[in-house]
Amino acid sequence: MKKGSLRQGSLRFVETEYFTFAHPPYVFELEGGGRLGPVTIAYETYGTLNRDKSNGILILHALTGDAHAAGYHEGDKDPGWWDSMIGPGKAFDTNRYFVICSNVIGGCKGSTGPSSINPETGRPYGLNFPIITIKDMVNAQARLIDYLGIERLLCVAGGSMGGMQVLQWVVSYPERVASAIPIATTATHSPQQIAFNEVGRQAIMADPNWNNGDYYGGPLPVKGLSVARMVGHITYMSDESMNEKFGRRVKNEKKPFKFSPEFEVEGYLQYRGDNFIKRFDPNSYLYITKAIDYFDLSNGVGLHNLLKGIKTKFLIIAFKSDWLYPPYQSQEIARACKRAGVEAIYCELNSNYGHDAFLVEVDEQAHLITHFLNKVAESIKR
């Protein structure tokens, strides 16, 4: 363990760093035909890159995640979003691996997105921000990995939208990833998944404060974003986990009936929704959910054809109670690996937490990931 660690299993204070590329006259070309430049990516790193630069692991976050995956920011009470999995002695062991987490482009946590200043107008992009895709996010990350001097990553890993980036990484840069861990994800976004995202987008756009995306400096579309977040939270949980967490319990204080939250579940959703504006930009929500909806990796070709001849080793994890990204979608990825002759492990974990399981079910995931990474690291040494 490195000197100065707070305690076994937790990182010292960490800081977000920024990498900017595509300065004029260069631009970053996007899959949809748009151009961006300059482009900034926010990222954090944990652990130390070894001499032959073979221990790099890229962690990819979900829809509303950010670069702060582990450790504590100065003054913060809560650690990064996957701190249970990243740190000394944890699944992504920072004593052994150099772990990188980058924020996606289109985001609002330090990377170039719709709330960033458009250099052409001197004002926030708003809806002038070009359409982005999962592939664009991955291409931008590849620039960051170039900048960090890493030719080949030991692993790319992530859940939900992070898992989509994992799959895109393998297909776009197969020689650059020794292994891949897609969790609770899909290779093709389904109509049901698009439908939930569309409800979220409609809620944001129906908020009068949204103002066609031009709300920066004025009143924010708080309520629209809040409703979008509420829908999101419902899809991340399961019937069982909601039953356990809230039951039909009602709040204590008695107020005259005016459709104010009575049930605990209502209060929870409203609280989560209303607070979301503090950390997320509504336009980013629109752009990123759209990028997710566009995601169809195989696009009629058949995923197994894209994976043929690929040397990347897979660990595919799904959760039985996840109805947003149901196990059958992970099984499709596993089947494509089978057909393509790609080395793979597929595991369906028992959990009541629904889609959220990938963030909260630590022990079993950590077991799988630890042993899988051991094997991959060994096979690279040989």
Partner: protein, 198 residues
Amino acid sequence: MKTGLDHRIIMEFIDDGSTVLDLGCGTGELLCLLAEEKDVKGQGIEIDDKAIFECVAKGLNVFHDDIDTGLPEYGDKSFDYVVLNQSLQQVKKPDHVLREAIRVGRKVIVGIPNFAYIKARLQIGFLGRVPVTPSLPYQWYDTPNLHFLSLLDFIEYCHKKGFVIEKSRYIGKKREVHILPNLFALTGVFLLAGEVKG
């Protein structure tokens, strides 16, 4: 850990450096042995959660899947060997699974418990009880076995279906059985050709 005789025999059947698909690989002992001693590139399919964790801890590639439905993705002859050791009697449709195994493998290895083992016969015939033997160790109410067959049943079935048995070995309590295997063997291990006759 001491290697079981069935594993030893299966190891003898398998050539060095080949590819093996183990259907119902359990905790992965056989695949682990094959990787270590025979430089085999293995893939397991297993339905039990806990067994999967042990496989991954051993560094094996394993799919959490049902072998009744888990084979159609594999192309013809995509493995040198497909192993069904003590799992054929546990699947819903053994005939379908074995046919699929023969399609996917160049050779197929099947290990089955013998329901006609002498002590099983005695338990049924004299005691009037459903047999519990070292190769059929389960009580009727918690057995994973769905089908009960003797070694002769299997051999006759293979003849009828055109499956070609290339080698067969029989195992008793501690050693191999050469005389009257259907009476004295607990387990049979068969090497089947990868094609169907006729």
